[in-house]
């Protein structure tokens, strides 16, 4: 009796292996499909560390697709997405893009989210000469110099420096002007680049750097780091960090009573509603970068309609409920591509690239004009200051008045409170 059961189980296992084989052969067989829909291919971080952002981006992209298809599609064809999860792992990206181009035969490609997931696709996309709209890559094109690369994050033409330009401009306008600065960066790509830019600004301005360190990605406790920064007693504290580190540093700064004049800079995570709610009043006074906040000065045509759709779609998906930071840009990078394709009238990649280069696009994130290197022609990295944040209320962050835009002047919505904590 017992043996029979065992054997039947083994047969079942063998069947499993066989089924695997079949599944595989089905993938390797090219999928024949009607050439009718216009296919846009991309890889996206749907699992792994960046999945929170990747999933939110995907929701925004699908809203764009629905909007376009409702209006009759692109070039008279319905738009279809072909996308794969890169698991936030750069090593998966090359395979995915070759699959998209050679097996799925997509008509257009756009990028995944984040510098590390964008770069590995570049050689493949470049070899095919495709227009490459990219979503939040920091200075990817510095190495490749590809003239069909366009990046939607409003960092500016010199991304690594423009990133923190506003922070230092604001600081130097104060009197008495700050003299010293502490720099701290979490040890991973974006944070390091942001702080490297801040370091150059500090040198240019002549600020004395009294603390300059990195801490390992995902450190459980950053209290000791903050204590060292406090002991350094700098006027300015510029930090590049990821959500886990940002939360720890904000808490530690409050616990230890950091006495800097300006505190913040490049802290990722403070843009997300869940973290904002948890930190509550601890955020008050912090000056940090952002890309879109619900201030009157950033009320671009279409953005509120988009966010309304996003907030419905995002429910129960475990992503940011308001969708302020990234999603409008994920919508906009497709908006630009769509506008360009429509204007050119066909899929000639050279012409599309030329059109994008010479045009100023009106999008949900405002007017977008690209510089020669594919970055925004002028920076619109916001410096926002948290103000009057009440404890335990997530709804307040969906309204104006909590994140005052201090920089750039074109969208400024209030004046800085300096020093950051009275």
């Amino acid at each position: 009796m017992k043996t029979t059961r065992k054997i039947s189980f083994r047969n079942w296992m063998l069947t499993g292996v066989l089924a695997t084989g079949l599944a595989v052969s089905s993938v390797f067989a090219p999928v024949a499909k009607a050439a009718d829909p216009l296919k846009i291919g991309f890889s996206m971080a749907l699992t792994g560390p960046l999945a929170g952002a990747g999933k939110a981006a995907l929701i925004a992209m699908q809203i764009w697709k629905d909007d376009v298809n409702k209006a009759g599609g692109l070039l008279g064809r319905q738009v279809e997405f072909v996308y794969y999860d890169d698991a936030t792992s750069p090593s998966k990206v090359p395979g995915i893009y070759t699959k998209l181009l050679n097996v799925d035969k997509v008509d257009l490609v756009v990028s995944s989210y984040g510098t590390n997931e964008i770069s590995p696709a570049m050689p493949i996309v470049m070899r095919k000469g495709l227009v490459f709209m990219s979503l939040f890559g920091l200075a990817v094109n510095d190495k490749f110099n590809y003239d069909r690369y366009f990046q939607i994050m409003p960092a500016g033409p010199i991304p690594k420096d423009d990133w923190s330009r506003g922070f230092f401009k604001l600081a130097m306008e104060q009197s008495p002007a700050p003299k010293t600065i502490a720099l701290l960066s979490e040890d991973a790509d974006f944070a390091l680049s942001a702080v490297a830019g801040a370091r150059r600004h500090a040198k240019r301005i002549g600020l004395k750097v009294v603390y300059d360190r990195t801490f390992p990605f995902g450190s459980p406790d950053v209290t000791s780091v903050m204590r060292a920064i406090k002991a350094a007693n700098a006027d300015l504290v510029y930090i590049g960090s990821y959500p886990g580190g940002s939360v720890g540093l904000v808490k530690a700064a409050n616990e230890l009573g950091l006495k800097a004049k300006m505190f913040g800079g490049g802290m990722v995570g403070l843009q997300f509603a869940g973290i904002q709610k948890n930190l509550g009043p601890l955020l008050n006074g912090i000056v940090n970068y952002d890309f879109w906040v619900p201030e009157k000065t950033l009320n671009f045509p279409g953005v509120n309609a988009f966010l309304k759709k996003y907030q419905v779609a995002a429910k129960g998906k475990g992503v940011d409920p308001f969708g302020h930071y990234l999603p409008p840009f994920a919508y906009a990078y497709l908006q630009i591509l769509g506008d360009a394709v429509t204007a050119v009238g066909n899929l000639d990649q050279k012409k599309i690239a030329e059109y994008i280069h010479k045009t100023t696009f009106s999008t949900v994130v405002g007017n977008v004009k690209f510089a020669k290197n594919g970055e925004w022609a002028t920076t619109r990295t916001l410096q926002v200051q948290f103000r009057d944040v009440a404890p335990n209320d997530i709804g307040q962050f969906n309204k104006p008045g909590k994140r005052i835009v201090l920089y750039p002047d074109s969208v400024k919505s209030g004046a800085i409170q300096y020093p950051f904590r009275k």
């Binding site: 083994r10 296992m13 395979g95 790509d189 990195t214």
Partner: protein
């Protein structure tokens, strides 16, 4: 006779691989098979130590990354021809393997496993703090324009990795079939007894760890050119360590072809999952397959097949 069969299939595989590059244009197949082959080399290498001697290496990713970052450094500093750099990378991680072998003098079982994990973590911290290697931010590696006799660079990488995979498999087979293999098995089954019987256990272990190190380094050496962007998170990826343990376990650790089968099955399933089920399920598959196999079929696919054969034989006789 048996030996002939093996070498014939080696030649067939290499020729078929070469023909593949000439006949097929679709680059995706090369990317997908490259990843499977990379997993295969890692699995075979892991098994040379783990399967043959019973010493578990938790730090496979460290060897892999040492190979990868050696390439990054060599390419940046001297820009040597690819095969030369690959050999140097393999040699370096072979030396690391040799060092690990000496550690096994003092550390058995789980202590050894933890030590390998610690080595990988120390290496990762060093890379994180090395500005020259790109640090935590990662670094770019631009593929050379010319690709030898192949149409493009990925075909060259594919063929190179296929060659490494074949050599690794042949070495693994040699180690398990020869007298050396019996010695290794003796180490696995009872190291003290083997030592008393006059088996040169240290020498055997050193051979085993060094070979493992070389092949893991070789597997990693082509990685920078494959992804063109290397950062510590992907080079020291946990998935590399998991796969190099899971593949032999699923295939069967006792024989040289176990990891080959395991790597082909798991690798193909993973590559398929990446491009079909685009979700978290990919990782779940590895987990479920691993747990499923080791609880229900502890000798892996090879074991299942042997039992199946035995049963057939039993039926015929009866």
């Amino acid at each position: 006779m048996k030996l002939d069969k093996f070498w014939i299939s080696v030649v067939v595989v290499l020729v078929a691989g070469f023909a593949f590059t000439k006949l097929v244009d679709n680059e995706f197949y090369f990317f997908a098979t490259y990843v499977v082959l990379q997993g295969l080399v890692m699995a075979v290498a892991w098994n040379i130590l783990g399967g043959f001697t019973g010493y578990v290496n938790f730090g496979s990713a460290g060897f892999f990354a040492l190979g990868a970052y050696t390439m990054v450094a060599l390419n940046k500093a001297f820009g040597l021809p690819l095969p030369v750099m690959v050999l140097i990378a393999g040699t370096l991680s072979g030396l690391l393997g040799l060092g690990v072998g000496y550690i096994s003098l003092r550390l058995k079982g789980v202590y050894f496993a933890i030590a390998t994990l610690a080595i990988a973590l120390v290496l990762e911290t060093v890379v994180n703090n090395s500005h020259y290697l790109g640090g935590a931010a990662g670094t770019y590696v631009i593929q050379p324009k010319e690709s030898f006799i192949f149409d493009n660079y990925i075909e060259l990488l594919f063929m190179f990795m296929l060659l490494i995979a074949v050599v690794a498999t042949a070495v693994s087979r040699y180690l398990s079939a020869s007298r050396l293999g019996m010695g290794l098995a003796a180490v696995r089954d009872d190291e003290v007894a083997a030592e008393c019987m006059g088996v040169p256990t240290l020498k055997l272990k050193l051979i085993s760890t060094t070979t493992m190190g070389i092949f893991m380094g070789l597997a990693g050496s082509l990685f920078p050119f494959f992804v063109t962007f290397v950062d510590p998170v992907s080079a020291f990826s946990l998935l590399i360590a998991v796969n190099s343990i899971a593949m032999p376990m699923i295939g069967g650790t006792a024989v040289w072809y176990g990891p080959v089968i395991g790597a082909l099955v798991l690798g193909v399933v993973q590559e398929t999952a990446t491009v079909t089920i685009s979700s978290e399920l990919n990782l779940l598959i590895v987990g479920v397959m691993l747990v499923g196999f080791i609880t229900m079929a502890p000798r892996g696919i090879v074991g299942l097949y042997e039992d199946y054969k035995a049963k057939r034989k039993g039926q015929n006789n009866g």
